[in-house]
């Protein structure tokens, strides 16, 4: 069987198996087992992919397969992956794997919870393997909808409000996407049989007047889920109300769908308009980066801190994508992966700390390093990755972005780049503020000494995420090369003008 | 050969009947009278069927059959409607249409 199909099949089968489970123990064993298989096969996919590439197979996408679905409209279930998709699939597998362990102690409607969670992940996998815009959009929606239930039912705080807001804003983005996708479908100069296949569409030309209309639609449509300023406000509310695993998955993976879509659909299919209009979005994303970082500095709720810093980091992803060159694109993908891992780590840790302290307000906590050394050290490592310490993944991604952004000579790009670069100082400020208030200092409350130490499933979750961060941080070459060579077709279209 | 009734006359009659039915349906508050109004409308339509059949396809009987169907169905419909009214009456002790507004926003 095609390994990509099994990437969709395993989660589906897992959800089916979950239907028959009854006790909490069974449910989480099945979920963990399924996602472990998924993680393993993602690693196998990576290995196979690298083998193929090493063997000289330089097709744009590998492991392709095509099933006709609605031939008269040109819709077919086309799958295939390039280096970017492989990397994103691996990221998804790590995050969902750790997400299962981070929600080990969910006891309310646990079966439904894990089913929704895995359905969501299925949508994400489908999104990354699809080559057909229609199917891709279908999976995109499949990933967004369970979010409503997950936040609305298992969330905390004003969860109905947050769920509604998040879903509605993402739906707004989807509405733009539908129009954009149909626009691309109808205006590309294909004679006869129309198609939704991205690669085929990419070989055809779309008139510039049409590109000008559809590029903003596609870019903003994907940008909403990528937390593009000013459409980012679902992020703080959504993340703070969502249960731990959902925050992890949402910030870690779903927000990356935005960046991925902007890069591989909006810019790939509509390059001329992207070149013309990039400046508008560069301004917006530049604002995202610095504005998100500054807004983080004064937050007191841990989840808000992480949500706003995600706005800043994901802003950097879109910023890099708009720099329209290979180096910056590589940086953007690296940043997606790196941010995915570390934000998942943060949300997992926040969940674990919250389950002990029963508060997320940092000014009400303190001295956790003394009582919870393992989790605290993990938090510090995540923080250091976030502020771009060499040897951890954030550094690799940020530096690649900055070098790429610096390839532009003109003053506009220079100034915006320097503004974006300066966010690293602000990042340091808010990370150290949190670490100082939360972990350091005297133990705030005597009852803290009774906290249970980190449990085994918590250790699995955090350690696997940290391992990912370290692997990328210490040996980035293979990953960055794998991403770079997949960017050829996107960059070539830009050069052609 | 009996001279045919001019079409205009027939149309005037059926239109009048139909709009009398509409007027009744819109203004009467009693559900039974509303049902009667509906029947008047149906009969106006029946008449139209019969006459148009005669004018357009003399010798064919489709229009007549159609009217018979409508009459049969109208009978069934009246039975159902009155059954609903009776249940309604049992529940709210009234068959005033303005009181039946449960299905609003």
């Amino acid at each position: 069987m095609n390994i990509l199909i099994s990437h969709i099949a395993v989660p589906v089968l897992t959800t089916l198996a979950l239907m028959f489970a009854s006790t909490q123990k069974q449910v989480r064993t099945i979920a963990a087992g399924g996602m472990t298989i998924q993680l393993i096969q993602s690693l196998v996919l990576l290995y196979l992919f690298l083998q193929e590439r090493a063997g000289g197979n330089d097709a744009a996408v590998l492991f392709t397969q095509s099933f006709a679905w609605y031939p008269s409209l040109g819709i077919s279930f086309d799958i295939g992956v390039d280096g970017i998709a492989v990397a994103m699939i691996l990221l998804t597998s790590i995050v969902i794997f750790t997400g299962i362990f981070a929600s080990w102690e969910v006891d309310k409607l646990y079966k439904e919870f894990f089913v929704s969670l895995i359905v969501l992940a299925t949508g994400v996998y489908g999104f990354f393997v699809s080559l057909d815009l229609f199917v891709l959009f279908l999976f995109f929606e499949l990933a967004v909808i369970p979010m409503y239930l997950l936040i609305g039912i298992w969330g905390s705080g004003p969860k109905e409000y947050a769920a509604m807001k998040l879903t509605l804003m993402l739906m707004g983005g989807s509405a733009l996407l539908v129009v954009g996708i149909l626009g691309v479908y109808y205006t590309s100069d294909i004679e006869g049989a129309r198609t939704f296949n991205i690669l085929v569409l990419g070989q055809h030309h779309i008139p510039i007047e049409m590109q000008r209309i559809f590029f903003p639609m596609l870019f903003i449509g994907f940008g909403v889920i990528g937390a593009l300023f000013p459409f980012h406000t679902w992020s703080p509310d959504g993340h703070s109300s969502a249960p731990t695993a959902v925050s992890m998955l949402h910030a870690g993976v779903l927000m990356k769908l935005g960046g991925y879509g902007c890069l591989k659909i909006a810019i790939f299919l509509l390059p001329e308009a992207a070149q013309e209009m990039s400046w508008i979005f560069i301004v917006l994303t530049g604002i995202s980066v610095i504005y998100g970082a500054l807004a983080t500095v004064v937050q007191t709720d841990l989840k808000y801190i992480n949500a706003y810093s995600s706005v800043s980091h994901c802003g950097l992803v879109l910023f890099a994508i708009l720099m329209l060159n290979k180096t910056a694109y590589t940086g953007a993908v690296l940043q997606m992966i790196s941010h995915g891992l570390m934000t998942a780590l943060f949300f997992a840790l926040i969940g674990m700390l919250y389950s002990r302290t029963k508060t997320r307000i940092i000014t009400e906590m303190g001295g956790l390093m003394k009582v919870l050394p393992f989790l605290s050290v993990c938090y510090v490592i995540g923080g250091l990755a976030s502020l771009g310490l060499p040897g951890l993944s954030g550094f690799v991604a940020e530096m690649t972005i900055f070098v790429g952004a610096f390839e532009h000579k003109d003053l506009f790009h220079r100034v915006t780049t320097i503004i974006a670069v300066s966010s690293i100082v602000v990042t340091a400020v808010y990370i150290l503020r949190v670490v100082g208030l939360l972990l350091m200092g005297p133990v705030r409350n005597e009852s803290y000494h009774n906290f249970p130490k980190a449990k085994w499933f918590e250790k699995i979750a955090t350690v696997s995420l940290i391992a990912g961060i370290l692997v990328i941080g210490l040996t980035p070459l293979w990953l960055s090369d794998m991403i770079r060579e997949s960017l050829g077709i996107i960059v070539d279209k830009l050069v052609l003008k | 050969m009996v001279e045919q009734v001019p079409l205009n006359h027939v149309l005037i009659v059926t239109t009048l009947m139909f709009f009398i039915g509409v007027y009744g349906f819109l203004t009467r508050k009693n559900l039974i009278t509303m049902l009667i109004s509906v029947e008047i409308m149906l009969n106006a339509v029946n008449l139209n069927f019969v006459f148009f059949d005669n004018y357009l396809f003399p010798g064919k009987l489709e229009g007549h059959f159609f009217s018979l169907f409508i009459i049969a169905i109208a009978a069934a419909e009246a039975a159902v409607a009155i059954a609903i009214f009776i249940n309604l009456y049992r529940n709210i002790r009234s068959i005033d249409v303005e009181q039946v507004d449960k299905m609003k926003y």
């Binding site: 406000t233 504005y291 060499p390 320097i418 | -």
Partner: protein, 631 residues
Amino acid sequence: MEFHYTIWIVILPFLAFLINGLGSGKLPGKISGWVATIAIGISTFLSYQTAFQYFTTSSREKIIAFKTVWLRFNDTLQIDMGILLDPISVMMLVVITTVSLMVFIYSQGYMKNEGGYDRYFAFLSLFSFSMLGLVVATNLFQMYMFWELVGVSSYLLIGFYYDKPSAVAASKKAFIVTRFADLGFLIGILMVSFYTGTFDFEILTNPEGLNFSTVASFMGLSTITWALLLIFIGGAGKSAMFPLHIWLPDAMEGPTPVSALIHAATMVVAGVFLVARLFPLYSVFAPTALEVVAFIGAFTTLFAAIIACTQYDIKRVLAFSTMSQIGYMMLALGVSGYGGEEGLGYTASLFHLFTHAFFKALLFLGAGAIIHAVHSNDIREMGGLRKHQPITHILFLIACLAIAGIPPFSGFFSKDEIIAATFVNHPIYFGIAVLVAGLTAFYMFRLYFIVFWGKEKTYDHTPHEAPTIMLLPMIVLAIGSVLAGFIPFGHYISSDGQSLTLHINWSVAITSVVIAVIGIATAWKFYKTESDLSAKVVKAFGTMYTSASNKFYIDEIYMLITKGIIFRWVAQPLAWFDRNVIDAFMNLLAAITNWISSQIKEFQSGQVQKYAFIFISGVLIIVLSFIYANQ
């Protein structure tokens, strides 16, 4: 010529870090200290071996001992990880490993009864690893990476006592200030690499191979000058140059051996090393930037020396003295030319870096021994310690004489060369350098007399001499402080790789020694015995003294800018704006939708007749409009 083994110099401390870090809390007894010490011991041995081999056999060219691609950005730019051996990196290897080894040994005694022993040695090993990686970097970006790692290990070590709020604040401050400076460094790197297409030092330090004639200019200076100025900001941040110095005095919150290693001997001179590393670039293409270096150096050296005279915390006095001495080194680099006798300042600067590492580390370790005995940092609570700590007393005195520049101690030789370098063309800098030499002698001996002479204070328990394991490294460093000056330094290190014979300029030397002696004599007069002389002088200076003892209120200005302006007037309004404008706008959209639907919901009244009426009206309208449209 094989130098492959040099990689172990860097890797061994990293292994020690891994062992101690992962095994933290599980390792038996005090084994972590020995793991770290043995690792750095082997590194030290290898460094000496390298130095010996390098200086005896090669002709001072750059040798790449090891190199591998770490990350590729595009077709031209890539980050390598590697080891570059040249005179200054070999010299730095020797300095770092020596001081590290001494501090590691010393720490085994000093930290014996502290919690977090494993963690301490893990961090210390991490620091040594990063610092060694920094000096052997083959390219700017590798240097930047280790630069950041050094910053983080410094952060971790300053905040070692993490349950002490002041330590947490200090570590945060140190990291953020240097991070801010690193921003300049990073942008500078990006600019330089943009124009040269490389990060490699081999290309960057070869002025013949570079051409910046096409480079644009900005505000009257060529962009390359701007780039080098930005890089210097990075160096200034790490080396605590004015106005980025504010973190260094606070950094003294860390354990004292850490201050000795990081905040006196090694990390803080990274800025000097950076400028020295890129010296050909500065000197040939951006003399303006070099003038700025000289100015900042001169200003800082005077500024810090003045403050040092007014402080009462023993470690802060030493911290300001460190700043002042680094200012000296920067000044020397700034006034130096490239090649031949012109390059005297360059050699002098690195010479001073070399000697300073020994005596400043010794001073800090001595201070550590004192604090260990007295349990206080305040020199007003010390006095007459020479009776209780005779060996520490002698060692401290040696270090004081060395830093004051009294022959034949090492500080004399290096400082003399710096003053000589300023003597030729820069009369103002010369004046400042001589003045600071006097001030240095004064504040060091002020410290010395108050602590070791003065009136004996009442102590909780009688101060005791430090244990052997702490004294031994101090003795080694003291030997270094005495002898380091006799090394024919110019023979090994010079701006252009040619041997440079250093000779003492007697008119300069006599002036500086006389000034130093005056400084010492004043300190003797003021502080050897209790007298009210110093109080009178303080009174005479009035406000000037107050502002100096408050460090010229620079900290307060920073607090005003960061907390008062950026925090309160930028970040908080932004957060408010996000919640109450942007988010409110989104909520407004939802509210409008809600309002519209509540307005039109009246149509859904539940009245069958209303629906029918609307329906029929609609049909009529459509029918009528068709009829009229077809006419």
